[in-house]
């Protein structure tokens, strides 16, 4: 049993089967943005059952996530999925939406609830409210700094789950503007959002996954893991929903090694780890909002890790 949990997100059975999860402790199953994301676990109870079984067989904690911005017509499917999660042994369900939180609490009280980043948790009193609806773990809103997160935990002693690496969710929409390109590009949904699509404006970029907008740069907290552990955080996420199995495996290996080392009091970092992270970060690295700066800045000792936009601006046509 490690003194921390490293987890990630996987949208469908194909990606789950293709992924080496040996360095993860837990996995959230499902795509939170879109019901028609290719073979989304959240729309396929049979796949979800199989996914949960695969994770259990690998000795992983198996979680199920839920939609970030549902409408009324999502809710029957959400109930079916929660029923499947409960009956197939999911260890927790992640909720980003307060209505789904109420459904989980009222109808599936046996399912522990993790509060996701789109639930807009900004305050200690918010934690208390959500605890009243069965929440046991909390992802604070991504734009809170570590100091602000500490203010929350000081006021309520709640376990926080922090994004330590990967593209940070920045927004969710009711619409997928990529559908505008189906005819023009000759690529149909659900293949469109599997492409590597970046939106660029001036000197910054975001990644599009259709209804979801993610940071262009990868949040990277590698050199700050000792601080996170010292401040009592134990649950860490590598966001890989839109990444390849190689990214999923190699980034996790870096963080597993670094966290294990940090937990033992060793704060040194291998140069090879940086090379791995830089290689997978298409646009560069940032620290998100953890240090009270804008989300795309890098506040650590490795300014060379910030990267540049050259990787996407060289090959214009």
């Amino acid at each position: 049993m490690t003194p921390f949990e490293l987890n990630t997100t996987i949208a469908n059975l194909r990606d789950l089967r293709a992924s080496d999860l040996s360095d993860y402790d837990a996995v959230y199953l499902g795509d939170i943005y879109c019901r028609i994301y290719e073979a989304n676990f959240l729309e396929r109870p049979g796949d979800l059952q199989e996914g949960l079984r695969i994770l259990r067989d690998q000795g992983k904690r198996a979680y199920v996530t839920t939609y970030a911005a549902p409408r009324n017509d999502f809710l029957p499917g959400v109930r079916r999925m929660l029923e499947t999660a409960a009956s197939a042994g999911a260890e927790a369900v992640e909720v980003h939406n307060l209505g789904i939180l109420k459904i989980a609490h009222d109808e599936f009280p046996q399912l522990p609830v993790h509060v996701g980043g789109f639930a807009n948790l900004y305050t200690a009193s918010g934690v208390e409210v959500l605890r009243g609806f069965g929440a046991v773990r909390f992802t604070p809103n991504y734009e809170l700094s570590l100091d602000e997160i500490r203010e929350i935990t000081a006021g309520c002693d709640a376990p926080m789950e922090l994004l330590v690496h990967g593209k940070m969710p920045l927004g969710v929409s009711d619409y997928c503007f990529l559908l505008d390109y189906e005819e023009k590009w000759g690529v149909k949904c659900p293949d469109l959002c599997q492409k590597e699509l970046f939106l660029k404006q001036g000197d910054w970029a975001m990644k599009s996954v259709g209804k979801g907008i993610l940071s262009g740069k990868d949040v990277c907290m590698l050199e700050h893991l000792p601080r996170l552990l010292a401040e009592g955080h134990r649950d860490f996420r590598i966001e890989t929903i839109s990444e390849s199995p190689a990214y999923r495996r190699e980034v996790a290996a870096v963080y597993r090694a670094a966290l294990s080392r940090a937990a033992g009091g060793d704060v040194t970092l291998d140069e090879g780890w940086w090379e791995t992270l830089r290689r997978h970060a298409r646009i560069g690295l940032c620290n998100g909002f953890y240090f009270g700066k804008s989300g795309m800045e890098y506040a650590g000792l490795r300014p060379d890790s910030m990267g540049s936009l050259l990787t996407i601006s060289r090959v214009e046509s």
Partner: protein, 313 residues
């Protein structure tokens, strides 16, 4: 019939909204209601507004829809006590924690869960009912059909923002602006004496970091989604585009929303000057009262006058 809740960003706009037939008016309290292009009222202006609204027999609601930092919380509670002393009984808030704190401290205060709380479904509305909210605001993207199901939840007033700009990213679910930059903002009006309505945390002469629309103290939207983006596919430039957004103004659906059981039709637009606000409010008043000729009803499906488009929500 549903009540008409109009925005106002100035004392002139408050009067214009009342004259045009609003049943209630909402304003922002300086320093506590996001600010930006939307105008806010100082404490003194708020007192005048309350007198005008009360003398007209209508209601004034105050938007306190930023999420204050922990150190600002006590100051917010002081502000609310001052609002109550002035006769204000309804506030609009944006955070579930703040909402429950206020419910505990001020049980007689009417509490509305802002559109920024992100409610869109029947379950969301039930959640806010359970939490103790008196009202919840849903976006105008929620159809009358959806609203009929939502109205099966009793014990809470349902408001619909029937006139609003729908951006690509959902309200309350966007922190793209703060990903670009956090901009120190000066706030407060030097000409105003201290009192209720002062910016939080001694901000009269200070600077505050701003972030997303709801980030602590004063949020600001840098409206990056309204600027052109280059779209790259695997490193290759495939074109320049805007995020889709549209002005929603569902005047033609007023009767359908009323039939679905909506309690309040709310208009976005605290940034609108009074000369533009008045005809907008009047047109909804007429739609609610059924005083519009059939030909005009047809015209409601046509594009709005450009000047009515809400700027800088």
């Amino acid at each position: 019939m549903p009540a008409l809740l109009a925005p106002a960003g100035s004392l002139g706009a408050v009067s214009a909204a009342l004259d045009a037939g609003a049943d209630a008016v909402y304003v922002g309290l300086a320093g506590w209601s996001r600010g930006g292009a939307r105008r806010e009222l100082t404490g003194n202006e708020l007192a005048v507004a309350q007198r005008r609204v009360a003398s007209a027999g209508r209601e004034l609601q105050v938007a306190l829809n930023t999420i204050p930092k922990a150190v600002e919380r006590a100051r917010l509670f002081e502000q609310i006590a001052a609002l109550r002393d002035r006769g204000i009984r309804s506030v609009i808030v944006n955070d579930v924690g703040i909402l429950t704190d206020l419910k505990r401290r001020f049980p007689d205060l009417g509490l509305t869960a802002s559109i920024g709380c992100g409610a869109q479904t029947v379950s969301d509305v039930a959640f806010f009912r359970d939490l103790g909210a008196d009202a919840v605001v849903l976006p105008g993207t929620v159809s009358p059909e959806e609203m009929r199901e939502i109205r099966t939840v009793r014990g809470i007033r349902v408001e619909i923002m029937i006139h609003m700009v729908e951006e690509f990213v959902l309200l309350g679910k966007c922190w793209m602006p703060s990903y670009v930059h956090l901009q120190p903002t000066v706030f407060g009006k030097a000409s105003e004496p201290p009192g209720a309505g002062d910016p939080p945390d001694g901000g009269r002469s200070g600077l505050r970091l701003t972030g997303s629309m709801k980030r602590g103290g004063v949020g600001a939207c840098f409206r990056i989604c309204q600027q052109p983006w280059e779209l790259y596919d695997s490193g290759r430039l495939r074109g320049t585009r805007l995020f889709p957004s549209r002005q929603i103004s569902r005047r033609a659906d007023v009767a359908a929303y009323a039939e679905a059981g909506v309690d309040v039709l709310k208009l976005q637009g605290r940034s609108l000057p009074e000369e533009l606000l008045a005809p907008l409010v009047r047109s909804y008043r007429e739609a609610i009262d059924g005083r519009t000729a059939p030909a005009a009803e047809q015209a409601w499906s046509a594009p709005l006058p450009a000047a009515w488009a809400v700027v800088g929500r």
